[in-house]
């Protein structure tokens, strides 16, 4: 077996490998940088994998040792006559080298390890910084150094700047408390463009994501309905979430204000709004071609999109999060922090960095409340009777979120009903299409929401 064969066999089994189910025609190592030689050694690889006409580029951190200790066997990739190869991100001895390289702002071959000038990295001298790979991640690999920093290595890389780093650095520079401050990154040049390969940023210790937190609230509500003698609603249930939702609304408005300050604002004129409505119509048609049930909502969507097209008052546009939902926000000991400013992952880079109405993020979060309320019902035995309670939870928390958002200076969702409604329907339509393709048993969630609208 060649080295490439070894890599291919391993690569196709990885969770983050995007070409699942497709035949790998060819794997080529396009860059191979030795970061440290000897035993253990660390190499950084960029490999392209082609599936016929399309090809993807992956980054691999390869560790090599003559003998692989038992604790690293789970990360094994394969071997040649001399070396045992393994995923170096699982080896704290090697990730420490990556960390040190960032802290010292070094270049190794074509790789640039960059440190954000103003970052306070005093913690990097502390003991107990052995890294640990976080589980549960789909498309990238993240590891934490002690409880101080998180290192996120992108697995599939595309040339060009990284919106997440760009935004997080800009917001941190403005003193925002709602972002995880970046410390540094690794970059290289691909196709002539400077390309971010990995980001090191502040680790949010003792934090948990908004989705899990909302789920505890919903779970409690369902159980309360189950056991309580009196009628229980979202307001009275123990897991009441509206306070958190309101504070999340406040945090969102503050992030939007900072995004506007950092990247500027403009106005969508009536023509641009008509274009936006056009796109919504198009997306609806595409989706209903895939999912015939959607046809039932053609009038509903059509009316909302037409109203949007006729909107005459200008709409403020700015840089937004773009893929905003409960899974992108973390509750820390001091409040809410927003993660992953990369935009909608399936969109092209230019579109992800484009300006749009901040209410797009509001719509994303409101849809997420709806999902949080309903996803636990999918397999629930009392699904029918709990439906109304779930909607009550979603409405209550949406209201609280919007109240917090408006109170903290965001454009008041209540006075932008036409735009918000169109955005909500557009988002639900996107979800219908997504669920039909990926999680058919969740399809009922966006469909029911459309019915409720």
């Amino acid at each position: 077996m060649t080295f490439e064969d070894v890599l291919t066999t391993w690569l196709v089994k990885q969770r983050w490998f995007a070409g699942k189910g497709r035949t790998v025609h060819d794997l080529a190592v396009v860059a191979d940088t030795e970061i440290t030689g000897g035993d253990p050694g660390l190499r950084h690889l960029l490999v392209t994998v082609s599936h016929g006409a399309t090809s993807d580029c992956y980054q691999l951190f390869i560790g090599q040792r003559e003998r692989l200790p038992a604790r690293l066997r789970h990360a094994s990739i394969g071997s040649d006559s001399r070396w045992q190869f393994y995923d170096a991100l699982h080896d704290p001895d090697l990730t420490r080298i990556l960390l040190d390289a960032i802290v010292t702002d070094r270049a190794v071959g074509a790789l640039r390890f960059r440190r954000l000038t103003e970052a306070d990295l005093a913690w990097a001298d502390r003991p107990g910084l052995d890294s640990l790979v976080l589980t549960g991640e789909q498309s990238n690999t993240s590891l934490v150094f002690g409880e101080w920093a998180i290192f996120k290595a992108f697995r599939r890389v595309a040339p060009g700047p990284n919106p997440d780093l760009e935004v997080a650095a800009a917001l941190a520079a403005l003193g925002s408390t709602h972002v995880a401050e970046p410390y540094g990154w690794i970059e290289t040049r691909m196709d002539g463009a400077s390309t971010v390969l990995a980001i090191l940023s502040r680790y949010l210790r003792a934090a948990s994501d908004g989705w899990s937190l909302a789920a505890t609230s919903v779970r409690d509500l369902y159980a309360a309905v189950d056991t309580d003698v009196s009628g229980t609603n979202a307001a009275e249930a123990g897991g009441e979430f509206a306070g958190e939702a309101e504070r999340l609304g406040v945090a969102t408005a503050q992030v939007h204000a900072d995004l506007a300050a950092a990247f500027g604002t403009s106005e969508l004129d009536p023509e641009a709004i008509r274009d936006l409505a056009e796109q919504m119509f198009r997306r609806f048609d595409l989706a209903s071609a895939d999912v015939p049930e959607l046809a039932r909502y053609a009038d509903l969507a059509g009316a909302a999109f037409s109203k949007l097209a006729k909107l005459t008052e200008p709409v403020q546009a700015q840089r937004v999060h773009g893929d905003y939902h409960l899974g992108q926000v973390m509750r820390t000991q001091t409040g809410w922090v927003v993660l992953d400013f990369e935009g909608e992952p399936a969109s092209p880079l230019a579109q992800r960095r484009a300006r749009s109405s901040p209410l797009r993020d509001v719509a994303g979060m409101l849809r997420s409340f709806d999902y949080a309320a309903k996803h636990q019902l999918i397999t629930h035995r009392d699904r029918a009777s709990l439906g109304a309670v779930a909607s009550d939870w979603a409405r209550r928390n949406s209201r609280a979120f919007c109240a917090g958002y408006a109170e903290a200076g965001g454009p008041d969702p209540a006075s932008h009903e036409v735009l918000l409604r169109a955005l909500l329907i557009d988002k639900a339509v996107y979800e219908v299409r997504y669920e039909a393709r990926n999680r058919p048993n969740w399809l009922s969630i966006p469909l029911e929401s459309l019915a409720e609208m």
């Binding site: 937190l213 779970r219 123990g238």
Partner: protein, 591 residues
């Protein structure tokens, strides 16, 4: 008795060295003398009655009794309206009984502290009577008098329900007097050096009788200054420093416990100068923690607790928080001065059940619907979070309350000792009792009493006693630092208690405890990053069962609804048998 016992409760004879840091590790027990045991058959508890129950408190593992006010008083404010600082309410006994109580407690390794109100007296106190009738006499300036009622307008009215102003007119003297609480509780004038001295004389009187300390009621209000809110003033702190140095001079191991119902960042001022380990009060109550424990369990998420502890500043080395679940005192919304800093109070106010929880009208067990799992979780949190726990009498058996008695009396019913007449509390005619014992079907004394629970190995009382014993086996619960661990599950609160000396350095082999609490009613999994304890085999504290060794990967635990674990983390790698843990407290090594 447990062999661990002698360490905290060291010898009390004066010719042997005493343990000055005892309060940092002690378990406190709040006693209402009136409701604990009646020795005379008059229907009211008394000091002799309490003495007869000291064996029980020793058996339970209590280190210090906190007595609610025992002074002569017209009892218009639960005895906090003191009419004579240097004697005992006749219904409770006399000074001789008090000395006997202290002696008998000390013989059992139990200390005694008592409530003391420095800020004000009853209007029946001879000082006030003299002050109002003889403005130019020796007590003329003992209180804060004024011709007008428009001074110190920056001070809020604390009891807004009953008082319109902090000034009341006295027709005898023809002037207004200042009172931060009820109008029958005039504030003493601490500007007057003779008041300052008189109060120190009061402290000395009780210290000479052997008392181990005071809970100082309402300390933030001693002084008034125009243009301020008349709380936490510099002069108040200066006086407390003087009190502390007077106490330290002659009575080095006594404790001053401040009741300052304020935000922790303000309360730490009452510990005094951190560079000398604190030079005001040794202890202070941590008020916001209690309602947040209730909130966290109600919300099934840890943030209410995480946040308040993250916002609690470190305290001087010689100091300690007092923490509690129930208390005779109320954390009123009005007493939180800056609700900007505590949005959570806004949430309480909207949530009727939470509002009832932070009030004082209910006992712990009925608040938790008698749910044994929750009672255990709450008690485990009380015994493991940073601070010295203060138990409220009767909560160790899960006593109920009587909401029909109104105001605070509902939680002041007689201690339930036996299923006999008057719950074994008194031989009096049942109609003569100061309050009837709880008699309902669930919490009534016939079903729920000390005697029955002592006989039942699975009772809440036996369980609580075992937990107290475990806590005392591990002094790190009292003196260690608290560090919350990142847990993947928002319903799980996980933290370690580590020796305070050098958190960053290797603390291998010393006393280390890992606590994992499920705040949800549903079973929960949690993954913890415990790699700094790599190679350690956790030993569960209650049963001594060894858990899987901590390795490189996340440590996975599953917890039942409202479940919790306490693990001891012995030195890594050793083949030490489970249970071979360190004993010895207070510097006494296990031999």
């Amino acid at each position: 008795m447990s062999e661990h016992h002698d360490a905290v409760a060291d010898s009390f004879s004066f010719d042997q060295p005493r343990d000055p840091g005892w309060y940092q590790r002690a378990v406190f027990y709040e006693v209402l003398v009136r409701g604990f045991q009646d020795s005379t058959g008059d229907g009211t508890g008394d000091l002799r009655g309490l003495i007869s129950r000291l064996d029980y408190l020793e058996w339970l593992g209590i280190d210090c009794i906190w007595l609610l006010p025992i002074y002569p008083s017209p009892l218009r404010d639960g005895g906090y309206d003191i009419a004579d600082y240097m004697s005992v309410l006749p219904e409770y006994g006399n000074i001789g009984d008090f000395v006997a109580l202290v002696d008998e407690a000390h013989k059992r390794g139990i200390r005694v502290i008592a409530d003391l109100v420095m800020n004000h007296t009853s209007d029946q106190h001879p000082w006030f009577q003299a002050s109002r009738s003889d403005p130019h006499g020796p007590y003329g300036d003992f209180y804060v008098w004024s011709d007008t009622d428009d001074k110190y307008t920056g001070a809020r009215v604390i009891f807004v329900d009953t008082e319109q102003s902090n000034w009341s007119f006295d027709p005898v003297r023809g002037q207004y007097y200042w009172h931060r609480f009820f109008s029958h509780q005039p504030d003493l004038n601490f500007e007057n050096p003779r008041v300052q001295d008189a109060m120190i004389e009061v402290l000395r009187f009780w210290l000479d009788l052997g008392i181990d300390g005071f809970r100082l009621d309402a300390v933030p209000y001693l002084y008034e200054r125009e243009g301020t809110n008349c709380e936490n003033l510099k002069e108040t702190h200066e006086y407390l420093k003087r009190v502390r140095s007077e106490v330290d001079k002659l009575y080095p191991d006594r404790v001053l416990l401040a009741e300052a119902n304020q935000w922790p960042a303000d309360v730490i001022e009452y510990f005094g100068d951190p560079s000398v380990g604190g030079d005001e009060c040794h202890m202070a109550f941590h008020f916001p923690l209690m309602p947040r424990i209730f909130m966290a369990v109600r919300r099934e998420q840890r943030y209410p607790i995480s946040e308040i502890l993250a916002q609690t500043p470190p305290i001087p080395s010689g100091c300690q928080w007092g923490i509690f679940l129930r208390n005779h005192d109320e954390l009123t919304l009005e007493m939180v001065t800056d609700d900007e800093r505590d949005y959570m109070y806004a949430e309480y106010a909207k949530d009727p059940r939470m509002k009832a929880n932070i009030g004082i009208r209910r006992r712990l067990a009925p608040l938790l619907d008698g749910d044994r799992n929750q009672l255990e979780l709450f008690t485990a949190l009380l015994l493991s979070l940073p601070g010295s726990p203060v138990l409220y009498y009767g909560d160790e058996i899960g006593m109920g309350d009587n909401i029909w008695l109104g105001d605070r009396d509902g939680v002041r019913t007689p201690m339930q000792w036996t299923p006999d007449r008057n719950a074994g509390f008194s031989q009096a005619d049942p109609q003569r009792l100061y309050l009837p014992p709880v008699m309902d079907a669930i919490y009534g004394y016939q079903a729920l009493n000390v005697e029955a629970q002592q006989r039942n190995a699975a009772s809440l009382l036996q369980w609580t006693r075992r937990m107290i014993e475990i806590r005392k086996r591990h002094p790190v619960f009292g003196t260690g630092i608290y560090e919350e661990l990142t847990s993947s599950n928002p319903s799980v609160l996980a933290f370690v208690r580590l020796p305070a000396a050098s958190p960053d350095e290797e603390t291998d082999g010393s006393d280390r405890i890992l606590c994992v609490n499920n705040l949800s009613r549903f079973p929960q999994p949690v993954e913890l990053d415990l790699r700094r304890f790599i190679g350690v085999t956790p030993v569960e504290c209650m049963g001594g069962v060894t858990f899987p060794k901590i390795g490189e990967l996340s440590y996975l635990l599953t917890l039942p609804g409202h479940g919790f674990y306490w693990f001891q983390l012995p030195a890594a790698g050793g083949d030490r048998p489970p249970g071979g843990e360190k004993r010895g407290l207070g510097g006494k090594a296990a031999s």
